[in-house]
């Protein structure tokens, strides 16, 4: 077993045992929320981390899928499965359209188009009251009971979310290590060379965009099941910004970075705020601190620290060159 596989197995075991260990329904629910946020952040990571495409409108996919599924299943009389399939399919189709528009530009232009499209969706959700309930949102949604398992139970829902999370992470991991995923990273690092080599940079980016939209929609589905409620806030710019911050803070371009980032933000927002009135300030300070001390994000930063620690122990005293070898290739030198 490779050490990294060992880590993954240990991580998985911890996640599986978690509800037994914590017991309290509240914390189990919190973990479910982290998983949902982690799926959303991981899907955004496909664009930000692997594709070098900084999107500030990723809430659009989660939000749209959430609205679709609540509307279809609770208000238009479709079943859960039909509602879910249509929601994900519809949202993925929307991602295709958005991708076609947004990928006309790159860098800050790309960021702005994604932001603008997100704001437009938010405006629609807010204004189209007859369909969306306006700022009051849509409620009256209950969790499904697939195979007789009642997802209203916190632990059951947690495992449901965990399965989806595992699938998402595995799928994204495989995607990134497929030749296609490699070519996406190629478009990030060497767009000119890639097109010179005959790759169609735009189509690679577009397909990845749609793929990210798909997993964003899946996260939105879970969001709707979890909260049993959807309102324009899920589409708001703050949700997109938070998701982006999760990715960057945890470590863009790493598999587990967005997961750690999601845990950080969800915990600070929901737990720290119970003890610290000025938790927003704390959240901001944490972000600044991460940039100052671990500019590539928590996961690369911590693993570097870990490696440095091991190196110093191994080389004991005779060490002269510190950790130049341990430095991973910098992630920052892309897309100026």
């Amino acid at each position: 077993m490779k050490p990294s596989l060992l880590w993954v197995a240990a991580f998985g075991a911890v996640l599986i045992l978690l509800p037994q260990v914590i017991g309290s329904a509240y914390y189990v629910n919190l973990c479910s929320q982290i998983l949902i946020a982690a799926i959303l952040a991981s899907s955004l990571n496909i664009l930000v981390g692997f594709g070098g495409l900084t999107s500030l409108g990723h809430a659009a996919y989660a939000g749209t899928a959430a609205y679709f599924t609540v509307y279809l299943s609770a208000h238009a009389g479709f079943g859960y499965l039909a509602g879910a399939v249509m929601a994900v399919a519809g949202t993925t189709a929307m991602a295709l359209l958005f991708g076609l528009l947004a990928l006309r530009a790159s860098g800050l232009g790309f960021l702005m188009i994604t932001l603008a499209l997100g704001q437009i969706l938010w405006g629609i959700a807010y204004r189209w009251v007859s369909l969306t309930g306006g700022d009051n949102g849509l409620g009256g949604f209950t969790r499904p009971q697939p195979f007789g398992i009642d997802l209203a139970d916190p632990a059951a829902f947690y495992y449901f979310a965990l399965v989806v999370f595992g699938l998402a992470l595995f799928a994204i991991h495989r995607f990134m290590h497929s030749p296609f995923g490699q070519s996406l990273q190629g478009t990030r690092d060497q767009p000119r060379r890639m097109s010179a080599l005959g790759y169609n940079v735009r189509s690679i980016q577009l397909l990845s965009f749609v793929y990210a939209g798909f997993w964003g929609a899946v996260a939105g589905l879970l969001y709707a099941y979890y909260h049993q409620f959807v309102s324009p806030h899920v589409l708001h710019l703050t949700t997109s910004a938070e998701t982006l911050l999760m990715v960057i803070a945890g470590g863009a371009g790493t598999l587990f970075g967005p997961v750690v980032g999601a845990a950080l933000v969800v915990i600070l927002k929901n737990v720290a705020s119970a003890y610290i009135a000025r938790w927003m300030m704390l959240l901001g300070a944490v972000f600044v601190a991460i940039v100052l001390f671990m500019p590539d994000g928590l996961v690369p930063g911590v693993s570097r620290l870990f490696r440095r620690f091991r190196n110093t122990r191994r080389t004991a005293m005779k060490n002269t060159e510190p950790d130049a070898a341990a430095l991973p290739p910098t992630l920052g030198k892309r897309s100026a």
């Binding site: 629910n29 807010y126 049993q228 000025r278 938790w279």
Partner: protein, 413 residues
Amino acid sequence: MLHRGKALSAALLSTVFLSTLLPPGFASAQSDPIKVGFMTVRSGALSAGGRQMEEGLKLCVDQYGGKMAGRAIEVITADTAGQPAVTKTKAQELVERNGVDVLIGPLAAFEALAIDDYIRQAKIPTISPSAAAEDMTQRKPNPWFVRAVGTSAQPYHPFGEYAAKELGYKKIAVIADDFAFGHEIASGFQRTFEENGGKVVQKLWSPLNTPDYGSYISQIEPDVDAVFAAFAGGNGIKFLQQYNNYGMTTPVLGAMTTVDEGVLKSMGDEAVGVISAGWYSAANSNPGNKEFTEAVRKQYGADPGYYTVGAYMACQFLNNALEKVGGNVEDRDALMKALRSVSIDSGPYGKVSIDDLGQPVMDVTIRKVEKKDGRLQNVVVKTYPATSQFWTYDQKEFLAQPVYSRDYQPAKK
């Protein structure tokens, strides 16, 4: 280091172990403090209202010396950040982790709606100190919910009649925040105003984050008798200042929140003369309100408004109900029943009782902004006593119609 860690976890473990051995309710329930979960907003755009709610609640709890019906009151405060998803998590935290006996909050209607289902599931008595969404006590009543404030439209049924009959206005333009609260206020006003012979000739809906009302003000038809401006939060300040800047002289009618005491203190002369309606005014001289406003002024240096009085009264409702059940919060059905039959004779609201859907029947006052004692105040001009959320309409017929909305009735040219 290691040793200390071990000792600590051993201690922790044994406590957990012991506590599972003890029978539930071992420490006699009646002497335990009553836990009140308080959902407010401390960060983001709604934080001013959230702070005022905290002040109102604290004042009330302090006035009772931290004890109600012989039991200590423990308030556990949660910051919902004004976001529905966080509100839900916080409600769960308060109920499931902190084990609160009753909830007070949240602030905004969209937050309250986000936890509507949860309140039912958890069967947790909830007192709303602010959220005014009509349907929560109308077409979709929640048996575990009672409101300590008016519904969005409650004061504007009498106000529409007042504007038509007593002010003699015939044509009015409406401008309101484009969200459910604004829609409901405007519709309630329009309904009675038009039933009494007036006409709303124009309805402008400005997004909540409108940077500049100039382009709306320019659209107001020049021949209207008055402008009914329904705003919440800081938008009233912005609108009235810009309205004044544009040299507009058409009289302004306001919603309760347009010239709420919480923002009125920051306003200038542009607010003078604005007539509004509400279920509370700090300047009301009814017995019980004087002591309340004086206490708030002494403690916090400002007049109480919508949020302060809402939370204060939510706490008074709780006290009233606790007295009835002898402090026994463990019987939630009885507590809820008591909350649903709160009846208070004097206090900031004057006389108040609760209808069968959990909504207060209370005095509605028509107020006019005047400068008195060196500060702007909502001086009471007229009182409509014991006003129900259904006004003079038949409850059944009222509920048979759809809830007030942006498209309730179009403006009539």
